[in-house]
Each structure stands twice: as C-alpha cells, then as structure tokens.
Symmetry: C2
Subunit: 149 residues, 2 copies
C-alpha cells in the first residue's frame, strides 16, 4: 500500500504517528488498554466490533510495538495485551482527544465519562499544553519548519 | 452505519472525538490547515490523495463544523477551507501526535519537521500536560468514571 508507506516514511512526525494510530479502532483499543482492558474478549465486548477487525487492529498495534502480548495475569492460558512504554506515551493523545470531545461534542448538561485523579478522587483539571517555562504558544504563534529536501 | 452512530452517541468523549477525527486523512487535513493550506488543490498536492477521497473528508469536516467554506482570501472565485474555533481547538491533539511521533518513530539523528515558536524563532520546547496547579497525573494515576447507566 503505497500511501501507507509514504506516511511511515514521512519527515512529518504527525504523519508517522497517524500511520499507526490514524484509525478510530486503534485509538479506542489504546483507550481501553489505559482503562485496564487486557483480553481479546474484553476488547470485543467494549468495542462491539467484529472479531476479524479487532484481531487485525491488535496485530497492527503489536507490530508497531504499541501493545505487547503477555501471559495472562491470573496464570490462566489466556493471552493478554499490555501497553508498552511506547503505548503508554500515547496518554497525552488520548487526553487531548477527550478534552476536545468534552468541550465541543456534548450538549450543555449532557453527561459524559470523566477522567478522575486517583489521589484526590476528583476530575482531572483542564489540561493545557505548556513548555517548561510557561504556557505553550497558540497555533498562530507557531509554524512548521520542513526538513530541507 | 450503526457503528459510526454508536460512537457519535457515546458517553465517552474520546469515542465522540474519534467519530470525527479518527481517520488519518481527516487529521492530516487539519494539520495542513494549521500550516496555512486553504484550497482544494493545495490539500491535494500536500496529501497526494485521490480527489474523491479528499472531497469526502473535507465534506465530513465541514459537516462536523471543524472546517468552514469561506470566500477566497485573494478575492478570486476559489473556495477556501478555514478552521473554525472548534477546529482550532484541535491544536493540542496535533501537537501531542507530533510529539509522540518525534519521540518514538524516528531513528536517532533522523531529521523531521519541527514546530517553531514565531516569537523566538526556536523550536517549541517539549510540551507536557498540566493542570492549573501543576503537572498532570500519569495514566496510572487516573481512571475513567463511566456515566451511570
């Protein structure tokens, strides 16, 4: 698939990222993994997708080293899927998608799931992108410098 | 398509977000819009995708109020696509995808495009998710509280 290859080889990190996670089921599987889902049947129940599609997406995520197959945590014969460090590093992507959805895709007063801070038991406060020295520039305050051809 | 509907109606903000932007071309179009791309032909040249696929993805983004069709900025007869405020609000999603790509998908020393701060002319420093009172909890320090059925 030439178009997939062109994204994987892109000098744009956004394009390379989307070559792996630019697909709804891939990111919903990652979301579920953060929520503690580990087994094929649990993913299937949560997502309600066909087994062949789920198997394909899990395989792609394992191939991309976002998930790894590990022995069942309870000692049974089941395989489980666990986030690798590379997969754990997708947490900010999931959080920014959540926050965009919360702010833009729900009617006033419409209920949605919430991200809770275990330490305080309260919803995680609105997150902003910041550099070490302060709030990050808005989109208009930045530009993308391409790699010289 | 029942599965798309189920995501749009989900009580999970991540799922609702992915109903709109859970597709590589949708987010690459949004990326290009942040980079100043506005016309159909410019998107096509940048993305290298078929006209019918591009037209479909642009229509979906306009329907979702992420993009809006505006008169050409030079007074010509062309239509242009501009980010709405809802679309502008996707900037953190693009930045977190970029940073995940930069950190995980390039070999050491391999060149990639950079996000530059216009004010300083320097690359935007590594961004972290923070609450108003400090650094945000890591994934393991949070859980998702579902809406009561």
């Amino acid at each position: 698939m030439a178009q997939r290859k062109s994204l994987a080889d892109s000098s744009c990190p956004v394009a390379r990222a989307l070559d792996i996670v630019g697909e709804r089921w891939a990111l919903l599987i990652v979301r579920d993994a953060f929520d503690g889902v580990r087994r094929f049947g649990e993913f299937q129940e949560s997502l309600g997708i066909a087994r062949n599609i789920l198997a394909d997406r899990l395989r792609l995520l394992v191939d991309a080293a976002v998930l790894e197959v590990v022995p069942a945590s309870d000692g049974s014969a089941y395989q489980e899927y666990a986030l690798t460090p590379k997969g754990e590093a997708l947490f900010p992507v999931i959080v920014t998608l959540r926050q965009w959805g919360e702010a833009n895709l729900f009617a006033r007063g419409e209920k949605h799931s919430q991200l809770i801070d275990r330490a305080s038991g309260k919803p995680v406060a609105k997150l902003t992108l910041r550099t070490a020295s302060g709030i990050a520039p808005a989109a208009r305050g930045t530009y993308v410098k391409k790699v010289a051809a």
